[in-house]
């Protein structure tokens, strides 16, 4: 029972204070951390933009390609075959009436 009342050496104030003090004091490793962080963020942002632009370019190219293909198909589609003039004469002969 009494053992439970003994202070824990790891929870003593002195080591904790030293630890906090060490954490508060800037070290050489801390110098430029914000710049590095912001730089990394800017890099990430730039990557994302590059990827987005790339995707947009891909999408536009694909759309243009599909449109060009469709246009080409429409333009280069074989025109309806021209009928021989006998087809026109046949219609005319029918118009002349029975017996001809």
């Amino acid at each position: 029972m009494n053992d439970d009342l003994q202070p824990d050496p790891f929870l003593a104030d002195a080591p904790l204070d030293a630890l906090f003090a060490a954490a508060r004091a800037p070290t050489p490793a801390d110098l430029g951390a914000a710049d590095r962080f912001l730089g990394r963020q800017a890099g990430l942002q730039a990557d994302r933009s590059r990827r987005r632009r790339h995707q947009l370019r891909l999408w536009v190219s694909s759309a243009l390609g599909v449109a060009a293909a469709a246009g080409g198909l429409l333009l280069l589609r074989p025109a309806p075959a021209e009928l021989p003039s006998s087809a026109a004469y046949s219609v005319y002969q029918s118009a002349l009436g029975d017996g001809w």
Partner: protein, 290 residues
């Protein structure tokens, strides 16, 4: 009194002589009794009455048919009767001047009607009718230049007139069809004298005959076939063609090429929906065409 009696007796004796002489020999105009000749129909009325009678009766025998336009492999052939003319009386009255003279066909006395169109580019016609039966015995169509386009002629004629079991019908002008046609093909110029008289849809069952709307134009005797089709046709003599987007318009007939092209050149567009609706355009025939 005695003088009057003598005059009456003399007149009674001379009158029968004078009548008899007038009946047997042509007397000089100043001699004998004058009789009122029976009213003879004008050439156009005589021709129209013969064309109308031919819808219910015809002369038969041996006939020769010659078709120069449209060109065909066998332009000459024989038949037992003449092909129907498909005339439009009202348009003949409007578009032709007619003269008549006596003639003979297959040994029968005939009337020869010469028809000159008011449109100098249209074909000219000669129609021979039997003097006794008043039905056609022969006819021929000549191009504006004078060369033959087609002819039909009975070379021998059966002794009796033949009644047709199925009477033909007279084509008539349809003003409603004209309005609808000009609306469907804005800019179309109908050649002078020609009017639309019928329209039909061609279902396009064969490869050489695609789906199409065919409008028949007539000036009374000459016909033109106006076709609206998704398939173009090769232009040739007597065939005018104009491409309008996905539609092709053909005008076929016995007119100079320039006249066919002029009719089509100003068409601005083909209203496909209105063209498709043309066969349903049934208006009352024009009163003047009966």
């Amino acid at each position: 009194m005695r003088g009057k009696l003598l005059t009456a007796v003399l007149l009674a004796a001379l009158l029968p002589l004078g009548w008899s002489a007038a009946q047997t020999a042509p007397a000089p105009a100043s001699v004998g009794l004058q009789t009122t000749p029976a009213a003879t129909p004008s050439p156009i009325n005589g021709l129209v009455s013969a064309l109308k009678k031919s819808l219910g009766a015809e002369a038969r025998g041996e006939a020769v048919l010659e078709l120069v336009f449209p060109p065909s492999a066998n332009p000459l052939r024989n038949a037992r009767s003449l092909p129907r003319l498909g005339a439009v009386p009202g348009l003949i009255r409007r578009n032709f001047t007619v003269t008549v003279s006596p003639d003979t066909v297959a040994g029968r006395p005939a009337r020869r009607y010469a028809l000159t169109p008011t449109n100098p580019l249209a074909a000219r016609w000669v129609i021979w009718t039997d003097q006794q039966w008043n039905v056609p015995l022969a006819y021929q169509e000549r191009m504006s230049g004078g060369s033959l386009a087609r002819r039909a002629e009975l070379t021998t004629v059966n002794p009796a007139l033949s009644r047709l079991t199925r009477a033909g019908s007279v084509r008539t002008v349809r003003p409603a069809l004209r309005r609808a046609l000009l609306s469907a093909l804005p800019g179309l110029k109908l050649p002078d004298g020609f009017e639309p008289v019928s329209v039909q849809t061609q279902p396009g069952t064969t490869d050489t005959m695609p789906p199409a709307v065919e409008v028949l134009l007539s000036d009374g005797l000459n016909v033109l076939a106006l076709v609206v089709s998704p398939r173009p046709v090769k232009a040739a003599s007597g065939v005018g063609v104009r491409q309008l987007g996905a539609q092709s318009v053909w005008l076929v007939g016995n007119l100079p090429q320039s006249a066919l092209d002029d009719a089509l050149n100003s068409i601005r567009r083909a209203n496909v929906q209105a063209v498709s609706a043309l066969p349903g355009t049934f208006g009352a025939p024009a009163a003047s065409d009966q």
